[in-house]
């Protein structure tokens, strides 16, 4: 295999795939990236056996062929190369010679055949989504994914394809984020699947402002085809909890908030809810919210926020982190907070179909 390429193109290609590479693995081939030179393209593939990414870059291929090389090391070398022209030459023993300006590197690789192939998606159900919609949707939900591994079904985002819409759901049992995307697809494509966190993170990195993504659902697998890049992932098996039953059907009080202002106030006050388990309190009174936090032996913080509120006086405590997470990830200027009473869930909404259910905290004396 022999090709030459510009540093920028190669770096860009590597950046797309290198995150998937496992740093600690007992299988050395998994720390390698698969390079395949065909026509005027070189394809790059990485996998950790759960998630795989395949990308490509343009190159002048002199001799077609394939090999695998240590991904991180390769990336670090390319990044430091002095000149923008890079010549790649791999011999039959998978030893790669890299030349750029006055530099010369020789890296030992592993044969292509050892690299685990990505799964095939023949006869899978295919749905097309606008990249922007999916990117937005994941951004507004994925922070609520559970990091605790005791209930693995929660370690991902639920993709529910039903009645011409895709509903994304993430929860950790204390709060839940949900968002709908309007979509056209045949009834036969209706399905509930759980995409694991790692795939969601990678997907968010790959999704762009324009274009479409082709989602292929196979049995236990999913592929996201973004024109020049392909991401495949295993799905989490199991039943996602019935999220619909946690959404309160009514709201007693509603307050409209300026997202940035509210977030900034919370951020300031929460500085005095230092320990992670501490709460922040919202005291609602006529046209005002008072946000307070205190830590004994440290101090306290208080901030008033004028709002249009006409309901009854109400105090409710939340985990500040849980309250700030959606505010950080939403982009809308205005958000609505629906409340029932002190011990019932609060619901954050925006104009479009999105909601965030957050359970309050109880401070036992």
């Amino acid at each position: 295999m022999k090709f030459s390429v510009t540093k920028e193109k190669l770096l860009e290609g590597l950046q797309q795939v290198q995150n998937v590479v496992s740093t600690r693995t007992t299988l050395p081939i998994l720390s390698n990236v698969l390079l395949q030179a065909n026509g005027n393209e070189v394809h790059l593939t990485t996998t950790d056996l759960d998630v795989g990414v395949r990308g490509s870059f343009e190159a002048q291929v002199e001799k077609e062929g394939a090999t695998t090389l240590p991904a991180r090391r390769l990336f670090n070398i390319i990044r430091e190369l002095p000149s923008s022209e890079i010549q790649f030459d791999v011999d039959g023993k998978n030893t790669a010679s890299i030349r750029s300006g006055q530099s010369f590197f020789k890296i030992l690789g592993l044969p292509e055949e050892e690299f685990p192939p990505l799964p095939k998606f023949e006869g899978a159900k295919v749905v097309t989504i606008r990249q922007k919609d999916l990117r937005d949707g994941l951004r507004k939900t994925s922070y609520a994914i559970s990091t605790d591994e005791t209930r693995y079904v929660l370690n991902g985002v639920l993709f529910s394809f039903k009645e011409n819409k895709l509903t994304l759901v993430a929860t950790d049992g204390r709060r839940l984020a949900m968002l709908d995307i309007e979509l056209e697809f045949p009834r036969s494509h209706e399905a509930d699947i759980i995409v694991p966190t790692k795939a969601v993170t990678e997907l968010q990195r790959l999704l762009a402002e324009d274009g479409e993504v082709k989602v292929s659902m196979g049995s236990g697998q999913i592929a996201f085809d973004l024109n020049n890049t392909l991401l495949v992932s295993k799905l989490i098996e199991g039943n996602y909890p019935n999220y619909k039953q946690v959404i309160p059907s009514e709201a007693k009080e509603r307050v409209t908030l300026e997202r940035e202002t509210f977030l900034n106030s919370l951020r300031r006050v929460s500085l005095l809810a230092s320990d992670k388990s501490n709460s922040i309190k919202l005291n609602f009174s006529k046209n005002n919210i008072e946000i307070t936090a205190n830590t004994p032996e440290v101090g306290e913080a208080k901030e008033s926020l004028p709002v249009a509120y006409k309901g009854r006086d109400l105090s409710i405590a939340f985990n500040p982190e849980f309250l700030m997470a959606p505010l950080r990830n939403l982009i809308e200027d205005e958000v609505f907070l629906d409340l029932i009473d002190e011990m019932s869930p609060g619901v954050l909404k925006i104009q479009t179909p999105f909601l965030y259910v957050l359970m309050p905290m109880r401070i036992s004396a």
Binding site: R174, D275, I363, S364
Partner: protein, 598 residues
């Protein structure tokens, strides 16, 4: 032909012997207990070849007349109980009336006995359960039992015996148990014609432990007192925090003078020590429980190794409370003398490792030279004064802690070296700081109450009837810990709140763990018990690390704060915070003293 037959008397005895007489040590146990029940003031034990070839127990107890002596060799013949009612309140060590005939049935057995006022004594010789000779004999008042060729007629059992050495050690351990249990009795132990142990009659347990284990252990024991809880009287001595062993061998528990093993008490011990004990280590205890005989059932195990308590929870609580109190009470004492925990004869290895790279961290040394004269003109002599701070916390420490230590320096940017009256003290700066932060954070969170996070979906779960009963009873404790739980039908519960510091997304399996964990713990657990692990993890990150150079003032504050802790001896993970190397040990290492006298 009938298939079922009554067993001959000898066979029945041998069957019984299988339960009671397991090895030479169990013979010794039965015989010593008989002697104690006979009111002996002195018991001599002699063994040869691990007690297999010869085993002799001589006491100066009340003795027996000829009829009694003969009767004592019949099965189920005893002077200790008379009716079934007596079984409910056994005050003697024995009561089954099985030991002597059982032993006699598996050995060449000789019993000589004389009552103090009788003219002549009795000598009975039994071989394999058959009485061969009964005759008058003249001996000192008391009873002497001689067991030769144990299991000579049961080769199968004999094969199960261990080496002579092991059997001797078992006997000695048994003897230790009895000697601790009865300090008022003098014991001698002769093994293969060598006097191994000579214990004079001791006035109290204290003296007996000194005689057995030496001063060094004794000094690190704390007296136990009853928590004043009703009928259970607790006494004895337990090891200070940090004094621990790899095995349970020195975890001795006596109930009404009887050495026993009881899961109930063991659980109580573990809970009482809690973080004062490293994981996988066992405490050193000489624990004496005195209860109304009617509230203990010893008739569980033929060798009476186990007992059953009528109120196991009460017993456990009493043990936990008295141990906690002793440990906390011992703190002041400990600070006063500033004795470190693990003084347990440090093996040569760790000392060498710790002392070899003696090089005072240069940065620190400099600092010491520069700041010492200014900050504390008294230098290294005399007690060091606190810097001029008068916050209440430090006042408290100041009063309690006579500053009997002098900081010498920091070794390897990790170990603070200090001198105290007993020698050298090494403090692990990271472990020490962890302990300080841990207690601070826990106290703060306790004052605040445990914040509890509601769950989106309340979950129901089932428990076994016994666990369910426990949860019902301890609902309020669980609530205090931040768990929102309520009944939801028989053996079913609903949980809708968890402590906020928990990340778990599976409340059901979490609850099962909590129930298992807390059931073995005590009812008076801190509401933060569930959070201790999280707290320990948090403070570990914030504590100063190894290789963090500390200035003199920082070291001084660290040591003062450590001494102000509730449990200064170990870090929240149970590793020791400090180690003492006594002058005596140093002298030994330098060949100035041949051995530490005990």
């Amino acid at each position: 032909m009938s298939r079922i037959r009554l067993l001959p008397e000898i066979v029945a005895s041998q069957v019984a012997a299988g339960e009671v007489v397991e090895r030479p040590a169990s013979v010794v146990k039965e015989l010593i207990e008989n002697s104690i029940d006979a009111g002996a003031r002195k018991i001599d034990i002699l063994i040869r070849r691990g007690g297999i070839s010869l085993l002799r127990v001589i006491d100066d107890g009340c003795g027996m007349d000829r009829d009694d002596a003969l009767l004592s060799l019949e099965r189920h013949a005893t002077s200790k109980i008379r009716s079934a009612a007596d079984l409910h309140a056994i005050a003697t060590l024995g009561f089954r009336g099985e030991a002597l005939p059982s032993i006699a049935s598996v050995s060449r057995f000789r019993l000589t006995t004389r009552e103090a006022d009788a003219v002549a004594g009795t000598e009975i010789i039994v071989n394999g359960g058959k009485i061969d000779i009964v005759r008058d004999g003249g001996e000192a008042p008391g009873t002497q039992v001689e067991v030769r060729s144990l299991f000579y007629n049961l080769p199968a059992r004999r094969k199960f015996l261990r080496s002579e050495n092991t059997e001797s050690r078992n006997i000695e351990h048994q003897l230790h148990l009895q000697a601790i249990g009865h300090p008022e009795i003098a014991f001698t132990f002769v093994r293969d014609d060598r006097l191994v142990l000579q214990l004079p009659r001791a006035a109290n347990l204290h003296d007996r432990i000194r005689d057995l284990h030496g001063n060094e252990l004794l000094e690190r024991l704390l007296p136990l007192t009853s928590a004043g809880l009703g009928k259970i009287d607790i006494g004895g001595l337990i090891g200070q925090a940090g004094v621990s062993r790899q095995t349970r061998a020195q975890q001795l528990v006596f109930v009404n003078g009887r050495a026993i093993e009881s899961p109930v008490v063991t659980a109580g011990l573990r809970e009482g020590y809690h973080t004062a004990l490293m994981k996988g280590q066992f405490p050193v205890t000489f624990l004496f429980l005195n209860l109304d005989p009617a509230s203990v059932d010893v008739n569980v195990h033929p060798a009476k190794r186990e007992v059953r308590f009528r109120d196991p929870t009460g017993v456990r609580e009493a043990v936990v409370n008295s141990i906690r109190r002793a440990l906390e009470g011992g703190r002041g004492d400990w600070q006063e003398k500033f004795r470190a925990p693990n003084i347990s004869p440090l093996s040569a290895l760790p000392i060498e490792r710790e002392t070899r790279p003696i090089e005072v961290q240069p940065a620190f040394a400099q600092q010491t030279i520069e700041t010492l004269p200014r900050v504390a003109p008294s230098g290294f002599e005399g007690p060091r004064k606190l810097p001029d701070t008068t916050t209440p916390a430090e006042e408290r420490i100041d009063k309690k802690v006579p500053q009997q230590f002098q900081i010498i320096g920091v070794l390897n940017k990790l170990y603070v070296l200090m001198e105290n009256a007993d020698g050298l003290v090494l403090v692990d700066q990271h472990a020490a700081h962890e302990r300080i932060l841990f207690e601070e954070l826990r106290r703060r969170m306790e004052e605040q109450g445990v914040p509890s996070q509601k769950l989106l979906l309340p979950q129901t779960f089932d428990l076994s009837p016994r666990d369910a009963e426990w949860v019902e009873r301890n609902m309020s404790i669980l609530q205090k810990m931040g768990i929102g739980i309520e009944g939801f039908g028989p053996n079913t519960f609903k949980i809708d709140c968890l402590p906020a510091f928990l990340k778990t997304s599976d409340p059901v399996s979490f609850m099962q763990r909590v129930v298992d964990d807390l059931k073995s713990a005590s009812n008076s657990s801190s509401p933060l018990r569930l959070g201790e692990e999280t707290i320990a993890k948090t403070v570990c990150r914030h504590a100063v690390k190894a290789n963090d150079p500390l200035r003199y003032l920082e070291v001084e504050k660290l040591i003062q704060d450590l001494l102000g802790c509730d449990l200064p001896y170990c870090c929240p993970h149970g590793r020791p915070t400090m180690i003492q190397i006594s002058l005596a040990e140093l002298e030994k290492k330098f060949g100035r003293r041949s051995a530490i006298q005990t």
